[in-house]
C-alpha cells in the first residue's frame, strides 16, 4: 500500500477536481470570470507584496525581502 504524504494527497485531490466533475463553461458564458477582480494572480499592489515578503519567511522574493526589512 502506497502511503501518500499530505502534499501528494492534496495534489491528487486537486488534480481530480481539475480534470473531472466540472461544468463545461461555454465562451459566451464567461462574462463574470472576465472581470479584473476574478484574476487568479495576486491582487496585492507592489508595496503590499513587498511587505508580505519581508514579514513571512515562507514567501519567496529574497531580493525584495532583504531590502526594506529594517533589519541588519
Amino acid at each position: 500500500m502506497v502511503c501518500l504524504r499530505l502534499p501528494a494527497k492534496l495534489g491528487l485531490f486537486m488534480g481530480c477536481v481539475a480534470l473531472t466533475g466540472c461544468v463545461r463553461v461555454a465562451a459566451y458564458e464567461r462574462g463574470a470570470v472576465a472581470r479584473p477582480d476574478m484574476t487568479t494572480s495576486d491582487m496585492n499592489g507592489r508595496g503590499a507584496r513587498h511587505a508580505t515578503q519581508v514579514h513571512e519567511g515562507a514567501t519567496e522574493g529574497a531580493a525584495a525581502a532583504e531590502a526594506g526589512c529594517g533589519c541588519n
Binding site: 499530505l6 502534499p7 492534496l10 495534489g11 486537486m14 488534480g15 477536481v17 481539475a18 480534470l19 466540472c22 461544468v23 463545461r24 463553461v25 461555454a26 465562451a27 458564458e29 464567461r30 463574470a32 470570470v33 472576465a34 472581470r35 477582480d37 476574478m38 484574476t39 487568479t40 494572480s41 495576486d42 491582487m43 496585492n44 499592489g45 507592489r46 508595496g47 503590499a48 507584496r49 513587498h50 511587505a51 519581508v54 514579514h55 513571512e56 519567511g57 515562507a58 514567501t59 519567496e60 522574493g61 529574497a62 531580493a63 525584495a64 525581502a65 532583504e66 531590502a67 526594506g68 526589512c69 529594517g70 533589519c71 541588519n72
Partner: protein, 388 residues
Amino acid sequence: MQLRCVAAACAAVTLSIASPSAAAGPSPEGRVATEVAGYADTDHVAVLTPSISGHVEDPAAGWSVDGSYLVDVISAASVDIVSTASPRWTEVRQAGDATASYKPKDFGVTASGSVSSEPDYFAYAAGGAITQDLDDRNLTLLLGYGYGHDTIGRTGTPFSVYSHSFDHHTIDAGFTRLLDRRTVLALTADLRLENGDSSKPYRYIPLFSVQIAPSVPAGATVQEVSRLRLPETVIERLPLSRQRFGLTARLAHRRPRATTRIESALYGDTWGLFAFTADGRELFDLAPRWSVGPHVRYYVQSAVSFWHAAYVGTAFAVPAFRTGDRELGPLMNLTGGGTARWEIGPAETPERYVLGLAFDATYTRFFDDLYIRRRLSTLGALTAEAAW
C-alpha cells in the same frame, strides 16, 4: 511561496480563459499604472515605495508585454540596528522587471526577467513558462522554470572586495480551472532550490553561556541582553543549501454584486520551516463606479531547525548555524484591512481611468525572539490607472 514568473503566467492564464475569442480588437491595447505605497511599523521602520508599470497587448495576435519599475526608500532604526549600536540608516533600492507573453491559440509561452539593486545587495532573475488550454479553454495547465542569482555585500565596499552569493532555481506547475460560470480555481505547486551563502554580513549574534541561555526571556531588552551575553559575538551563518516547497490554491467566485476571493497556502523547506497562510477578500459593488471590501490574512510559521533565541557558545566553540533573522523564527501574522476602487473614466468606458486605495494593518507575534515580542505595522497604497 509565490513566484513572480508564476504570477505573470497566471495572469496570462486568466486572460486566456476570460477572452475565449481572439477577436477582441484589431489594435494593441495598453494600460499604465502608478502606485505610491507607504509602510511604517512599531519597530521604527518606514518605507516609501513609488512604482510605475505598463502593459501592452494585442488580443488578436496573442502577444502581451509588461514592465515595471520601483524605488524603495527605507529608513530604519529597528531594535536590530540599535542593538549593534548603529545609527538610523536610510537606503534606496531600485527594481525593475519585464514579461513578454505570446499565446496565439491554446498554447502559450512567457518569458520574464527582473533586476534589483541596492548598495549592499544585487539580484537578477530570469524565467519562462508554458501554458496549454484544454477542454475548450475550461482548463489551463502551467509549467514554469526560473533562475536567479543574488549577490550580498556591504554598503561602501565594492562587491569585488567583499561579497558572497547564492543561486536559486524554481520550478512551478499548476492549473487554472473554471468550476462554473462564476467560479475559478487555480492551484500551483512551487519547488525552489537554493545553493550558496545567503547569510547577512551585518547580523551579529549574541552568545550566552550554557548556564545563562535557558533563562534568557523571550523579548529580552537590549540592556538585558547586553548584561547577560558573553563578550563574544558571531556573525550570522546559514546552511548553504535549501529546498523549499509550496502549494497555493486560489478561488475566486462572483456573485451578483460582489466578488469573493480566497487563498490558502502550505509551505515547507529543508531548514525545517513550515507555514500556513489563509487569505480572504470580499469586493462589493457599492455603486456602478465604486467597489469596496475588507481583506483579512492569517499566517503562521514554525522556526527553522537551528533557531535559538539565545545561542550557547564559548570563545572556542560556536554553533555551526545561527541566525538573527526573526522571519526564520516562530511567528504569527494577523492582517486586517480593505480596498476601494473608483472608476472615473467617461460614461461609456468608466474603467478607462481608475483610482484605488488599499490599507492593511498587521499584528505580528514573535514567539521566541530577543528584543521584540510583537509588532504592529500599517501599509497604505494609492494607485492610479489609465487604459486605452
